[in-house]
Amino acid sequence: MGHAEQLVPLNWYIVLSTFLFCIGVMGVLFRRNAIIILMCIEIMLNSVNLLLVSFSAYSGNSDGQVFVFFIMVVAAAEVAVGLALMMSIYRNIGSTDIDVLNKLKW
């Protein structure tokens, strides 16, 4: 098994995670539903995780995987707080449309 997975070049992983990151950026710019925007932020975090894991695997150093572990911790906390915010926004305004949330707009 050890030899079979030595065939994928590192560059492909870089291109893949760059593409995923750009999809996340596009989703943040593209959508107006705040929950979908949170999901696109998750995609961006995951693309960075994938890049860290691939660099860690290809350099034979497990530091990157520990960092990914901590990123997962922060992502879980972020989603919990973000969705709680969405709930209270929805309760007060009746919508999760980000164009309605313009009270802080200059």
Binding site: H3, A4, E5, Q6, L7, V8, P9, L10, W12, I14, V15, L16, T18, L20, F21, C22, I23, V25, M26, G27, L29, F30, N33, I35, I36, L38, M39, C40, I43, N49, L50, S54, S56, A57, Y58, S59, G60, S62, D63, Q65, V66, V68, F69, F70, M72, V73, V74, A76, A77, E78, V79, A80, V81, L83, A84, M86, M87, Y90, T96, D99
Partner: protein, 165 residues
């Protein structure tokens, strides 16, 4: 063989991520994000990071996506209530994301990577090794992250609680 698996997994990852962005129905977005997370876990297994693959499935597909699903169902979001940006803004968003992709790829092309061409067969991703690192070199951040979790939990409860009128 592993190239073929990589191709299939990448195609599924990208397709499901695109469905997340373009789907009209929020529920479909959530479900395809679950697929996206599972394929990323497959990438981790392909990269010999078994511990992270399992943690990824448990944390993302198990906990975070259930939270998202519950919120989408609680708020009763559906196709009719889904707000849309104007066509001009959508076009601008696509163009700017594509340009970001081009810039990042160009930057990647102009750098010279260290020639770690192929991964050495290692046990780095096994739970034994990662756990040892986590409890020796990274003990303090590990403990601090538990405090972060506690505060996030309290914050979420306080924020989502119904206000008394």
């Amino acid at each position: 063989m592993s190239q073929l698996i990589f191709y299939i997994l990448s195609a599924m990852t990208i397709a499901s991520a695109l469905v997340v962005v373009f789907s009209k129905h929020p529920m479909y977005s959530v479900l395809s994000l679950v697929v996206c997370f599972f394929t990323i876990a497959g990438h981790y297994i392909l990269l010999n990071a078994q511990f992270l693959a399992i943690t990824h499935i448990i944390v993302y597909a198990g906990a975070i996506m259930v939270l998202f699903l519950f919120v989408v169902m609680l708020l009763n979001l559906n196709r009719e209530s889904e707000p849309h940006k104007s066509g001009k803004l959508k076009f601008a968003a696509t163009i700017s994301a594509g340009m970001l992709f081009l810039i990042l790829i160009a930057a990647m092309k102009s750098t010279t990577l260290e020639p770690f061409s192929f991964p050495p067969p290692s046990t780095n991703g096994m739970i034994q090794h990662v756990g040892q690192r986590l409890f020796t070199d990274y003990l303090l951040p590990f403990e601090i992250s538990s405090i972060l979790f506690l505060s996030a939990m309290i914050g979420a409860v306080v924020l989502a609680k119904k206000e008394k009128h």
